[in-house]
Amino acid sequence: MNREVILKLLKSPAQWIEERTGVVAFSAPLLFHHVPRSAKWWYVFGSATLMFFTIQIVTGICLGTMYAPSASNAWESLRFIDEEIPFGWMLRALHGWSSSAMVVMMAIHMLQVFMHGSFKFPRELNWITGVFLLLTVLALAFTGQVMRWDQDAYWGLGIGAAIVDRVPVFGDQMRALMLGGPIIGGETLNRFFALHVFILPGAAIALVGLHMTLIIKNGISEMPKPGEIVVPSTYREGFEERMKKTGVPFFPDAVQRDMVFCGVCLLLLVFLAAYYGPFGPGGMPDPTLINTNPRPDYPFMWIFGAVSLLPPASETAIMLVAPVVGIVILVAVPFLANSGERAPSRRPGMMLLAVVVVMAIVALTWEGVTSPWSPVMDGWSALPTPTQFVKGRTPLQMQGAVVFQFAQCRNCHELGGFGGKRGPALDEVATRMSPDQLIRQVQQGGGNMPAFGKNLNSAQMTAIVDFLSTLHPENEADSAIPGAQLPLPIKSPLTMNTVSSGAETPAGIHSR
């Protein structure tokens, strides 16, 4: 057989298929369509997002073969994948980290499109399909967190259900629809499994297809230049002409950069997965454990932060209205400005807006991670009182220090740099409050502090206030106002007065 015969034999099945499907004719423009010569490293983020999405599909299908979507077995099946299946943990780690990476890459891609004004005519629908892709991916991330079926999943669902429950009139029905019943149970997991594995990936694949089709149809936007104004009536002609003259084929010219960037992203992903391992599962979901510190996954941390910081009165309004308004604004972006300048330097207001939004999300994420509003649940039982706060104290004050631990003050208050941040640090509280004020504050609470009047008897109250009165810097007096009425004696006449005899002994109320 000579060379031509072999080539012919090889070609004929391909031709046979091509004649019947047109697959080459269809995919050739995907590969060889012209892209602007100016499309350089700014244009790699979309491709990287697509790569992460592909990884999600592949690893997700693999995990789907091993995961048991039932409330009683889900958690156990994750342990099984982690510990029994060779590299099962790696699969979970890749799936988890790739999900976060996809959200991040998507946000960067979106930011780049926004800053370059690429959403303007004729690419409005590119942007809108992108917005819906973002929502789908976030929904995938949330439902994916539920798949772990651990404490984070349980409390995350609880918070989600509580938000849905606030919807006026239909709250009950919507919550029942979300949870598959009045409470979080097996039905809830099955519902979220169906969403995570069938509905949302299906929607995402359809949206990606649409997004890609629009990219082929409308072409990739050029790098914005100040003065190159988008005029809808003439844009398309000009763009196509420029592509013919100066454009380069996507393959192999532009794709090189995409592949390099995707390769770096892939290496980074494998490193993250290999070094940090899979997400969770945390503890078994147990509604009776109250001293857990449930956290949403990173893509939702900023929402966790924002929701936690809302003033109570505004919660319902903001939680229900803000997402709708946010989505409407995102969708409306290309309609609000679909022509004109694209260059960042000519759109300073938009740039400022983007910077503010990014900074707000970063700051709220940080707040969510540190969550200074959460009590430190083991503050009272695991953090010993530092030496400087017990040194030189009287027996009563020492008992006050014990009561201080016993009443769990340090879950919310710092002492010596350790403890909760919900309330003010108490290291120098005696410089701010007189003993009378301290008694009132502990007794009645106020300013977000619960009242302890019913939980402490008079002896405990006396001891703790006596202890708190010693909390001021050495050689600095407490907060008594000169000339003001002296505090009522809180010790009985039986008491031998404490007399200050040097810096060690607190110059408290009893020495006056």
Binding site: M90, P278, T385, K391, R393, P395, Q405, F406, A463
Partner: protein
């Protein structure tokens, strides 16, 4: 000069070995979840973590912490297992909670016994410090960890000679007969305070030299002075104990009512 084929072969070998080497040691990657070791009750790690989450907040070591330090050899020299188990199970005074599950606490009696055993083995033989160190002075003998009844009238004299210079009127260390203080501390608590002191904070143990009383106390003197101090408690004992037990757990009646 190598031919292109040789280059290609070399490249293939390199890539192949890179792939092979990439998987070497994959089983020991940092991110691989380690199988959770089953918790062995009584193991050092269990003891340490139980102590850290339940006791450390008040009972630390050295000068730290508001209550008697437990990471401390001196304490374990005096305290018997039975006594520590008793206090741990049923609580003491106002602020020491009860840990026994039948009292509403988090630990079973087996766990409490294991915890006490574990703490003793970790700190009992250590050289962490001398809280209530035995044998400060020869001939003083061993002291009981639990409260022993004494004679209050003699106790008054002991207080005047041994304690009053710091804990009496005008004393720098603060009153121990303050009724508010006495309402918060049980007789056993007073006993322990006298026996162990807080040496790192400058309060000597029972048998150590005291500022105005270089010989320390005898076991009888400890019993007497604790009886005398306890007498100053303002309300009747039963009433006072009932009032201050805000945690509503049954208290260690033996310890707090012995006189």
């Amino acid at each position: 000069m190598m031919s292109p084929q040789t280059y290609r072969l070399l490249a293939c070998v390199l890539v192949f070995s890179a792939i092979v080497f990439a998987f070497v040691g994959c089983d020991r990657l940092h991110g691989k979840p380690t199988e959770a070791a089953p918790t062995v009750i009584g193991s050092p790690s269990w003891t340490q973590s139980t102590f850290n989450t339940s006791c450390l907040g008040c009972h630390s070591k050295g000068a730290e912490g508001a209550a008697i330090p437990l990471m401390n050899a001196g304490y374990w020299k005096v305290a018997t297992d039975a006594h520590v188990i008793q206090v741990l199970s049923h609580g003491q005074g106002v602020s020491m909670p009860n840990y026994l599950d039948s009292d509403g606490g988090p630990l079973t009696s087996d766990e409490i016994a294991a915890l006490v055993k574990g703490m003793r083995s970790m700190w009992g033989a250590g050289s962490l410090g001398g809280q209530g160190a035995q044998g400060g002075h020869a001939g003083q003998g061993d002291i009981s960890a639990t409260v022993v009844a004494g004679d209050a009238a003699s106790g008054a004299k002991v207080f005047a000679t041994a304690c009053a210079s710091c804990h009496g009127t005008g004393g720098s260390a603060g009153s121990v007969t303050d009724p508010m203080y006495l309402r918060l501390i049980s007789d056993q608590g007073l006993w322990s305070a006298v026996v162990y002191g807080r040496t790192e904070l400058g309060s000597p143990a029972w048998n150590q030299p005291m500022p105005n009383h270089p010989t320390g106390l005898t076991t009888t003197e400890v019993a007497d002075v604790v009886s005398w101090i306890a007498q100053a408690r303002p309300v009747s004992k039963a009433q006072g104990q009932a009032k201050v037990q805000t945690k509503s757990q049954p208290k260690n009646q033996n310890a707090s009512d012995t006189k």
